[in-house]
Point group: C2
Chain length 344, copies 2
DNA sequence: AATTGTAATTGCAACGTTGCATCACATGTG
DNA sequence: CACATGTGATGCAACGTTGCAATTACAATT
């Protein structure tokens, strides 16, 4: 139809399909095509059909750079990936969850790994100044997390896996750690434990405080002894293992243990076993489970599960709504712990 | 200084720093600033200093959308994340490795999780047609991987974690599986094993074939019996566990086992142990280790390590050089397995 | 004084998109 | 008939960047 090709570089085979291509094909103007594709209601139905048809036939997909330059929207969400190894396969599950929730949307996921312990705002700062993404997901949130503070101040959309103590509300999705601790304590008490111990690591997170508090409260309510073994976050697996051995040998050995991390559970169980303790007999142990590996390894042991895949999905949905302007206080959800009791 | 503000939207506090900002500040033209920042050699040294100074003072960072629109370069590399769970923490290590190698470059990382088994070219197709990234990293490569074929055909920069059997060379970084198998067999033979078994999963990967072949060859050379337990990829951990129990009870029980996956190792060891076998006594076992968890769990057991973090870094460096135009056949490297023998 | 040569700088168009302001045209109203 | 109204469609500028063609500045040569 068209007699003169404009500035097509036909050299490289097929040219990229843009609004212009559709315009040329339909005989409409570029503006009309653009308007139509975005659902302009002032257009004739016939026109809109024609455009949609051509777009589909040509396999048109809007150029991200063009949109981004014009609108400022990156259509990207960023995951700041904590370097901690406490939960096995946490990263994969989280990413899969986000990826699943992202399907069919215009969003892409970029992952920014964190190397130093997450006290730093460097990464967030980078994201904000580079306009890397429209929104951010952070994990392992602390009570007064400086990253949260920074994004609140900048009025930048984000959602945290974990709560904080800030007055200003922000979007979050969190594991209900209080219920986790309470469930675990009640279970141990129900099994006849009188002297239980909480083995817990990262005291920089809000969950740490939630768990400790709830653990103590629920033990008091059940009328049993409660101890907390803190500062295990700095211990290597080998060191954690010897902690287990020492515990096994100790005179005041607890008869029930709650462990908040899979890595520490593995090491601890290794040490206890080597120290001659039979788990489930002399000592009861309940751990927080996220990966599916531990149940394979310790099929007889009680656990309470956090579904990280689901968390990733929920975080994503919250974030997208936040980006779309929903108020932060309407975007706060908790995930209930899922107990997996093994015997009676 | 400037009397009339141009089109600044001073409403929202501070405006974005662009080339224009620097141009206004230095009194130079926009083109000059752009040229200077990209190291134009025809500029006076004085001018270049002035521009650099202003850029630093203002904290200028080039707008990705602008660059991308103009040049077609996305400055993004994409990782196609396989959904398999064989290697524990594979995803995290890989991403950390990539992230580390990316530091200081202009590249960002986007991760695209794969859900169905990786036979599909949908994801690659999406990346190619959307110009999502400048290059792609894929893992768990198969001998005639259709994804590789597709990217070769499209002449699109990529690097695979794993080799293929295609004639056309492509960039890869791979674990030296042949050496892994040979090392393991020799170790077992050296420990006195006469009847060894390879427990191996995903037969869709190239590594599968490499390992099986090398395992058989090396066993023949050592003059010992060699069996291969195939098709374990479809088994759940629980099923794998019972395989271990059956093996423990079998009359023709092997006296040495090589296992290629951490997940299967855990389940297998669980089953064998429950079946009454003492690892390291009646049966020797060597596994491929990637995560650091297994050594904690089985501190006395031999393993051969693949450093996935390092692999991620190497893949990234190869890919970037590929994007920069280096020939594919010059971008092929192998990682040597690192044996961790525990006793003598 | 005019010309040439070289070094340094700049204008312009384009990448693909969006949204506002405008326009063409047919239909209605006084 | 002049004018307003409404319906559809379009022109234009801008987002930030780059690379080429063109321009200027200025010294050196004729």
């Amino acid at each position: 139809m068209s007699s003169k090709t404009t500035t097509n570089n036909m050299a490289s085979g097929k040219r990229r399909v843009t609004l212009k291509t559709i315009a040329e094909m339909t005989g409409l103007s570029l503006s009309t095509v653009s308007l139509s594709l975005r659902g302009g209601t002032t257009l004739k139905q016939e026109t809109r059909d024609k455009v949609n048809e051509a777009a589909k036939a040509l396999g048109y997909v809007p150029d991200r750079a063009g949109v981004r330059l014009r609108t400022g929207k990156t259509n990207v969400i960023a995951l700041v990936l904590d370097g901690s190894e406490d939960s096995i396969d946490f990263a994969r599950s989280m990413i899969q969850g986000i990826g699943h929730a992202i399907q069919g949307t215009r969003y892409h996921l970029t992952v920014i790994p964190e190397f130093e312990r997450h006290l730093s705002t460097d990464t967030i700062n980078y994201i904000l100044s580079n306009r890397t993404a429209d929104g951010v997901i952070i994990t392992h949130t602390g009570p007064r997390d400086p990253r949260v503070q920074m994004m609140i101040d900048a009025d930048f959309p984000f959602v945290s896996h974990g709560r904080t103590e800030f007055y200003t509300p922000h979007a979050y999705h969190d594991f209900h750690s209080e219920d986790f601790a309470a469930l675990a304590v009640r279970r141990l008490a129900g099994k006849g434990c009188r002297d239980i111990m909480l083995v817990i690591g990262d005291d920089s997170t809000t969950n740490y405080h939630n768990i400790v508090t709830s653990f103590r409260k629920e033990a008091a309510r059940a009328g049993i002894e409660a101890r907390v073994l803190e500062g295990t976050v700095k211990l290597s697996p080998a060191e954690m293992r010897s902690v287990g051995m020492e515990l096994a040998a100790a005179g005041d050995r607890p008869d029930g243990i709650v462990c908040d991390s899979e890595m520490r559970t593995i090491a601890l169980v290794g040490g206890l076993t080597e120290g001659g303790v039979t788990l489930g007999r002399e000592v009861q142990l309940i751990y927080k489970q996220t990966s599916g590996i531990l149940p394979t390894l310790f099929p007889q042991m009680d656990s309470i599960r956090e579904d990280v895949f689901a968390a990733g999905g929920e975080l994503t949905r919250l974030l997208i709504r936040r980006i779309d302007g929903v108020a932060a206080q309407d975007l706060q959800t908790l995930a209930e712990p899922q107990p997996h009791w093994r015997s009676g």
